[in-house]
């Protein structure tokens, strides 16, 4: 295994000389893209042939989406070259991409539910049209011609009345109206059942046989190996390898995906002999809808437990279910051996189970409110007297106490939170969690969008908190971080615990295998 990859290895799997370059529709070479200090792409490459289904694999954050957005004209590369049929092109906008015959089916369905399938399919054309009146009949006829090939959907039906998989097919049909030669499918099976996914693959194959080149983004190794022709693996914004499916194994793909550079030092872990047998939190048979099924685990005193898994695997749903933050939850939760009867999140806070959201801006903080009122939001009564009057003195005092513990940098505690940097906003969220003296905390992506300095500080704080005896569950999509911070990692796949790793066993390869290889690996020791 290669530990440090300072520069990208070029290991293009195009060594199959026989086919030559004739069939290449799209070739991307040495594309770079930065967002501020973050280098999302550093030398990405992709070669797409006519009529192939080409899988694009990589960990969360490997740069797949950025690359696809560049090909679709949503983003512009800092440098690098894109050639279509051997001719260098610039793709300034999604419209331009459409004109060049590039269709993008996004992960989220973006149909207008109140209008018909046909109108949805030809929305781009209608928007650009110079005629005054809609010609519904011709729309319906043309829509039917396209739909007949890929699925039996009546173009006159309203998009909102269709099932998710049918809507997915309409999305593809929408891309086909543009007469595309390249079709990008971003995790199209995420929301589909097994049978629906099979239908989708049949359609994909039919389109490929017609000569359309398909880029297929997926985390699921089984799908890639069953339905794709070639695979390109990306890591850290670099091209790692491209290979024919027949010439590579799922394990090799996974091993190329992982192995990111460890560039930080993490606080020392719990010493093996200091390990306590005292269980703080234990979860038994937790289920919630379709997203969490039969999850059981124990959290020991002084331990940091990591939850790994691909995006959408159900990690956040598990911890939110424990805190009663959503849905109808079944199963039992024990805090220090005592069974909890939680009805809602208020009860959970009262018992000391606190969740820190992954989405600071969306559902974490009150952005236009002051730092101090954000810190006291979990339980305002702690800074108020028994008549329900808030003591400004106490509120500021508490905010300052926890703020300085986390080394929060602020000007005035009355400033709104949206004047702070991402790292400091996250510290406000953590200060709020600390201010209620939690027993168990669930940190969902605690360092997302946080600069390196603040990140190290947050890691140190998490460890300190664990040493104080608070139970800690961390979710992170950055495997090196998760491995660096946790004493033990549970791997989540499709709402279940797929396996557990700790100590020497805690490697990116092992975790990714558990997280992504469905039927090809034995189920982990859950």
């Amino acid at each position: 295994m290669i530990l440090a990859v300072p520069r990208c290895r070029r290991d293009r799997g195009g060594d199959d000389v026989g086919r030559g370059m004739a069939g290449v529709v799209l070739s991307v070479t040495d594309v770079h893209k930065s967002f501020g200090p973050v280098q999302a792409l550093r030398g990405a490459e992709l070669e797409l042939r006519r009529g192939e289904i080409h899988a694009l694999a990589g960990e969360n954050g490997a740069g797949k989406s950025t690359l696809m957005h560049i090909i679709d004209g949503i983003l512009q590369p800092d440098r690098g070259e894109i050639r279509l049929d051997g001719v260098p092109v610039r793709i300034p906008s999604p419209n331009a991409a459409n004109r060049l015959g590039i269709g993008f089916v996004h992960q989220e369905i973006s149909l207008c539910p109140e209008i018909s399938v046909a109108e949805n399919m030809f929305m781009a054309e209608t928007g650009a049209s110079r005629t005054w009146f809609m010609d519904y009949r011709s729309l319906a006829v043309r829509a039917e011609r396209i739909l007949r090939e890929i699925g039996d959907i009546d173009p006159r039906r309203l998009a909102g009345d269709l099932s998710i998989s049918q809507q997915q097919i309409v999305e593809i049909a929408k891309a086909l109206t543009l007469d595309c030669r390249i079709l990008i499918l971003d995790e199209p099976t995420a929301a589909l059942t097994e049978a629906e996914a099979q239908t989708l693959f049949r359609i994909m194959r039919r389109l490929a046989d017609r000569g359309i080149a398909i880029i297929y983004i997926s985390h699921r190794m089984a799908e890639i190996f069953e339905h794709c022709d070639r695979v390109t693996v990306m890591r850290d914004g670099c091209h790692i390898r491209t290979a024919d499916i027949a010439a590579i194994t799922p394990e090799e793909v996974v091993n190329s995906m992982v192995g990111r550079v460890l560039d930080k030092l993490y606080p020392p872990k719990q010493a093996p002999d200091a390990r306590s047998d005292e269980v703080i939190l234990s979860v038994r048979g937790l289920s919630e809808g379709r997203r969490v099924s039969n999850v059981s685990f124990d959290l020991r005193k002084g331990e940091i437990l990591g939850l790994a898994g691909l995006i959408g695997a159900g990690r956040s749903e598990i911890v939110r279910a424990i805190c009663r933050l959503e849905g109808k939850v079944s199963g039992e939760v024990f805090l220090r051996g005592r069974k909890l009867a939680l009805r809602d999140y208020r009860d959970s806070i009262r018992e000391g189970l606190v969740y820190v959201s992954e989405d600071r801006k969306g559902d974490g903080l009150f952005l236009n409110m002051s730092i101090s009122s954000n810190v006291s939001a979990l339980d305002v009564r702690r800074v108020s007297n028994r008549f329900g009057f808030i003591s400004r003195h106490q509120e500021l005092g508490r905010a300052e106490q926890f703020g300085s513990r986390l080394k929060l940098k602020f000007n005035r505690l009355d400033d709104p939170v949206n004047t702070l940097s991402g790292g400091n906003q996250q510290k406000v969220a953590l200060a709020r969690m600390l201010s209620v003296d939690p027993q168990v905390v669930f940190l969902d992506e605690p360092t997302r969008g946080v600069d390196v300095g603040a990140k190290a500080e947050i890691h140190r704080q998490i460890r300190d908190l664990a040493n104080e005896g608070v139970g800690i569950v961390v979710i992170s999509s950055e495997l090196p971080e998760l491995i660096g911070v946790s004493d033990r990692v549970l791997v989540v796949r499709e709402g279940r615990i797929a396996g557990e790793v700790s100590g020497e066993d805690m490697t990116e390869e092992r975790i990714m295998q558990l997280a992504s290889i469905d039927s090809l690996a034995p189920r982990g020791a859950a």
């Binding site: 809602d344 999140y345 409110m369 939001a377």
Partner: protein, 332 residues
């Protein structure tokens, strides 16, 4: 380290600042300056402007409506809006008046009328929180229905309540030590709600809810209950205002308060409330109401046509909102 040290010093200094400092934010100060300027200019232009009679008339004109402004501001902070305030105020008058004419004790009639408006608020609260309809549409429907009920019950004519006992009329017409009771009620309502809103945990939850309902739910706040409560409170305050109006006029007017909602929302927004929730103060909203009232009164004294008055009031509202928009934009 040095930076952290100075920041801590800053925070400590802030803690020593008197409690009223945050009360006088830039917006309130700005509004006070504008109002004082207007007063000064008007007192030079019109000798009648700064007389006690005119001041009292102006105060009376917006004092009762300010009770509704209080309710609306709290509702706006929680992220809601209520277009039905004018009709509900009128309905409170009509209900109380009708009950009184049918032999009910005026105090009991007033209490029942306020209860009716509170029920209307609960009804709207249920539709918005449990069912999930939008405040705008729900209150638009209620606005029309309540007005219809008023007109139906009275045949469209005001109910003359000449036999109201003097003790009851005292609420609207009496004075204590020369200060109209209406103004005293106004002061008590405004000061107490301003204090409650700034200082109590219950009303802090209103801010959390309006600022970011999802984050509020993730902080264990029962968002729907909060919105239900603010919707109910707003309608109940309309009821109280309606009863005071009835005592003041000695009659129940089914067509009273048409267009009131716009005035009230404008006052709250000029005072710093936002239709997207999470911001606003009672003091600011009342200053907004004062400003609108002073402008109207000034324009009337200057013999400006009523039609111009509307145009000017609308322009003030838009100026305030634009001002806000650019301030917020710059801060981001």
């Amino acid at each position: 380290m040095a930076m952290i040290e100075t920041q801590r010093v800053g925070a400590a200094a802030e803690r020593r600042a008197p409690w009223w400092i945050p009360a006088v934010k830039a917006r309130e100060t700005g509004l006070i300056v504008i109002i004082i300027t207007l007063f000064t200019v008007m007192s030079f232009i019109s000798p009648y402007f700064l007389t006690l009679d005119n001041l009292r008339a102006m105060a009376m004109a917006f004092a009762v409506e300010s009770i509704v402004v209080v309710g609306m501001t709290i509702l706006l902070i929680s992220g809601g809006i209520d277009l039905s305030v004018g009709s509900v105020t009128a309905l409170a008058m009509v209900v109380a008046g009708w009950l009184f004419l049918n032999g009910v004790d005026p105090w009991v009639a007033a209490a029942l009328a306020i209860a009716v408006t509170a029920c209307i608020g609960m009804f709207m609260g249920l539709l918005t929180t449990v069912v999930g309809l939008h405040h705008f549409i729900v209150s638009l429907g209620v606005m029309v229905i309540a007005r219809g009920v008023c007109l139906l019950a009275t045949g469209g004519r005001p109910l003359g309540l000449y036999s109201l006992p003097p003790e009851f009329k005292f609420i609207g017409q009496g004075a204590v030590y020369g200060i109209p009771l209406v103004l005293i009620i106004f002061a008590v309502v405004v000061i107490s709600f301003d204090l409650l809103l700034r200082r109590t945990t219950a009303f802090r939850k209103v801010f959390y809810t309006g600022s970011n309902p999802k984050a509020a739910a993730y902080s264990g706040i029962r968002v729907r209950r909060v919105v239900f409560a603010t919707t109910t409170l707003c309608s109940a305050l309309c009821g109280i205002a309606g009863v005071i109006y009835m005592a003041r006029f000695g009659s129940a007017q089914p067509s009273f308060g048409i267009g009131m909602e716009l005035n009230v929302i404008a006052a709250a927004v000029i005072g710093g409330a936002s239709l997207s929730g999470g911001t606003g103060t009672i003091l600011g909203a009342i200053l907004g109401a004062v400003l609108l009232s002073v402008v109207s009164s000034s324009l009337a004294l200057l013999n400006v046509s009523v039609y111009w008055q509307d145009i000017i009031r609308g322009s003030i509202l838009l100026t305030a909102v634009l001002f806000d928009h650019y301030l917020v934009k710059r801060r981001r």
